[in-house]
């Protein structure tokens, strides 16, 4: 313990060198804005700015990239709350309650909650990272394909069991998202699959962002256009205000959510460590559990502050967690850490168990910079909240074309293919019509994110077990997870049966 503290102190001395400190602040600010743009997330930020880091020494470079990563994780919540468009898949769950809060004129509360929860998630996870790095990495390694698939099932089951929406429509939404994620090349045989009308654009699959921006961007905006028309042109995206008193009362209210934040942080951190899982399932599961343990679960989805705190603490904790297998084992836990890993290899730093001994100043400098980045990111984020609130107060007819512009470019940017822009428009219009008919669309977006992870996990598991589904129930970690998923999945049916038994008993 003393040894770790000494090394951490040494790390702080590295992180607080003037150049590194400047890089942390710059990285957090750049990351915040990149993360806040719909369509651009931490992956884009880190990938685009990677070449710039060759101008500074390797320690400074990785510190800069890690600060961008942190800043972007904070920023992802901003477009989720303000515009209802998740900036990245990790921020999808933040829209569920963040957007309703903004619509009720409490965007400041949601933004503050997101920033503070991210800070708590980041802080707890970085402490866990400091003290429990190697043993946790080994537990995570015991997770194989069956465990991963069970985790995915748990994520989907939270929607069906706790969503409160029409069940056939929820299941339909999950399945269509998963089916759309199967478009493109079959990952195992390499053959083209579901290439509609032999259009070449489908060969590269359907990017999650195309569906997310279509549904949440275009679809949501068309919905707002309709509301605006019905309100006689007076509707706004958010009638938010911000004052010192409001901020203090918001912070006071946030104190009551500490349990959710701590739960989200631990859960997010552990899910983040798992290879190939990452922050998206982590934030979703955290949301589901927060709803389950809440005294007022009906408020979720309508503007519950815990509904913002849970996913935001989890996704930040997961982003720190995903650095752990990257540093200790050389296995990236998320696309962003994969790029960081690439950077490290270019600088001649070989990740793996020996990194901690061979380049201890680098490792501890990075860990200390995570503490610093977390602190600066929350300060920068809170400082910008008044500016974000000001933007929201623009008239709808000025803000709407800007959001449409961001949607069109956000749909084009990831693949740079016009096919995706058209597809996004189609998803937007169909999504708007489906939403009018009470089809829940969030499960579809999450399904298209998790689909590419769930399908190989299922196929590999079945290959291991020779087609036996019992593999999901007989393994020590997979069994309990899968059983919890099935219980959640059948919760609505069990609730109906229970009601009938109760009413028949009352009649008797």
């Amino acid at each position: 313990m003393v040894e770790i503290a000494t090394q951490l102190w040494g790390g702080f001395l590295v992180a607080f060198e003037p150049l590194n400190l400047m890089l942390i602040i710059l990285g957090c600010t750049v990351g915040l804005f990149i993360g806040a743009m719909p369509g651009l997330g931490s992956v884009n930020g880190v990938a685009i700015l990677l070449p710039l880091t060759f101008l500074v020494p390797p320690t400074g470079a990785i510190i800069f990239l890690a600060a961008i990563y942190y800043g972007a994780m904070y920023g992802g919540a901003i477009s989720s709350i303000m515009l209802g468009i998740p900036g990245a898949s990790t921020a999808v769950a933040t829209t569920f309650d963040g957007r309703p809060l903004a619509k009720q004129g409490m965007a400041d509360k949601a933004l503050t909650a997101a920033a503070v929860a991210s800070f708590v998630g980041g802080s707890i996870s970085v402490v866990l990272f400091t003290f429990f790095a190697p043993p946790l990495a080994h537990v995570a390694l015991t997770f194989g394909a069956p465990e991963e698939f069970s985790l995915m099932m748990l994520a989907f089951a939270t929607f069906v069991g706790l969503g409160g929406d029409d069940i056939p429509k929820t299941i339909f939404s999950i399945c269509i998202g998963l089916a759309l994620s199967a478009v493109g090349l079959d990952i195992i045989s390499g053959e083209p699959r579901l290439v509609f009308g032999d259009i070449p654009g489908f060969m590269h699959g359907i990017n999650f962002l195309v569906l997310a921006i279509g549904i949440y961007g275009i679809g949501e905006m068309l919905w707002t256009v309709e509301e605006n028309y019905k309100a006689g042109g007076k509707s706004m995206l958010s009638d938010a205000t911000i004052t010192v008193e409001r901020t203090i009362s918001n912070l006071r209210e946030l104190l009551g959510t500490w349990k959710t934040a701590v739960m989200g942080s631990f859960l997010g951190y552990f899910v983040g460590i798992l290879p190939a899982a990452g922050a998206t399932p982590g934030s979703l599961m955290s949301y589901g559990i927060a709803k389950q343990i809440s005294k007022d679960p009906d408020k979720f989805g309508k503007g519950a502050i815990d509904g913002v705190v849970a996913p935001e603490s989890a996704n930040n904790a997961a982003s720190t967690g995903s650095m752990l297998p990257m540093l200790t084992l050389g296995i990236p836990g998320s696309p962003t850490t994969a790029i960081l890993l690439g950077g490290m290899v270019i600088w001649g730093l070989e990740p793996g168990p020996r990194l901690f001994t061979d380049h201890s100043d680098f490792v501890w400098g990075l860990i200390a910079s995570l503490y610093a980045a977390n602190l600066f990111a929350v300060i920068i984020n809170i400082a910008f909240i008044p500016a974000f609130i000001w933007v929201l107060k623009l008239p709808f007819t000025l803000l709407a074309p800007i959001i449409f512009l961001l949607c069109l470019i956000g749909g084009y940017a990831p693949t740079q293919d016009m096919h995706d822009v058209w597809l996004m428009l189609i998803f937007g219009i169909v999504g708007y019509l489906m939403r009018k008919l009470d089809y829940p669309l969030a499960p579809a977006v999450l399904a298209i994110v998790l689909g590419p992870l769930a399908e190989p996990a299922l196929r590999q598991s079945l290959l291991i077990s020779n087609g036996e589904f019992s593999i999901f129930f007989t393994r020590p970690y997979s069994g309990p997870i899968m059983i919890s998923a099935l219980i959640l999945l059948f919760l609505p049916v069990l609730a109906i049966v229970w009601k009938r038994i109760k009413s028949s008993m009352a009649k008797a």
Binding site: N44, I48, D166, P168, K169, I171, F172, C175, I176, L178, A179, A182, D186, I188, S189, E191, R193, L194, F196, I218, M221, L222, V225, E226, N228, Y229, K230, P395, T397, L398, A400, P401, I402, F404, L405, L408, I409, Y412, A413, Q416, M418, V421, W422, L425, G428, I429, Y432, L433, M434, K436, L437, D438, Y439, E455, L458, R459, Q460, L462, L463, G467
Partner: protein, 168 residues
């Protein structure tokens, strides 16, 4: 609303059947040594989607879901015009990307939306129509090096090549 609920469930049901048929282009059964065939996963998902559509129609007949009980019109004429104008202008804007590029289509979209739908003054319209493409250009094309569509080659050659020479 009732008719729309039935129509949507039917269209999605047909789409599910199409997906099942399309998935079956790849093997949907078990392949020895390879596990489930490439089409199995989407095939069974589409089958579940189809069952869900039938359940939605059953709920419609029994008037169980809120849209199947509602007597409201799905979209009145005013809504169709308001939403249709916005959706239509987006489709036209994307189509114009091929001809005049993003930087030609965006100002036109801004003028249409801000001036004609939003009824803002000409100075506000002009500011939006000039500032938004300029900021977009510097952020995406120059800073992030994400090249947005420029339209016909002649536009790219005469306008953007000189700009890239200056800024890149």
């Amino acid at each position: 609303m009732r008719k729309a609920e039935l129509a949507m469930a039917s269209v999605m049901g047909i789409f599910s059947l199409y997906l099942m048929w399309k998935s079956a282009e790849l093997p949907i059964g078990w392949i020895a040594g390879e596990g489930p065939g490439g089409g199995a996963w989407p095939f069974w998902l589409a089958a579940i989607m189809f069952i869900c559509c039938i359940l939605i129609i059953v709920n419609w007949v029994r008037r169980k879901s809120p849209p199947s009980q509602s007597e409201e019109t799905f979209m009145d004429q005013g809504t169709i015009i308001a939403v249709g104008l916005v959706a239509g202008s987006l489709i036209v804007t994307v189509a114009l990307f091929y001809v005049v590029g993003v930087y030609g289509a965006l100002p036109l979209f801004m003028i249409f939306y801000v001036r004609f739908l939003g009824r803002h003054s000409w100075p506000v319209t002009a500011t939006m129509a000039t500032v938004s493409p300029v900021l977009t250009f510097f952020f995406f094309d120059i800073l992030l090096k994400i090249t947005l569509p420029k339209g016909l080659p002649i536009i790219e050659e005469t306008i953007f090549y000189p700009l890239f020479k200056i800024f890149l």
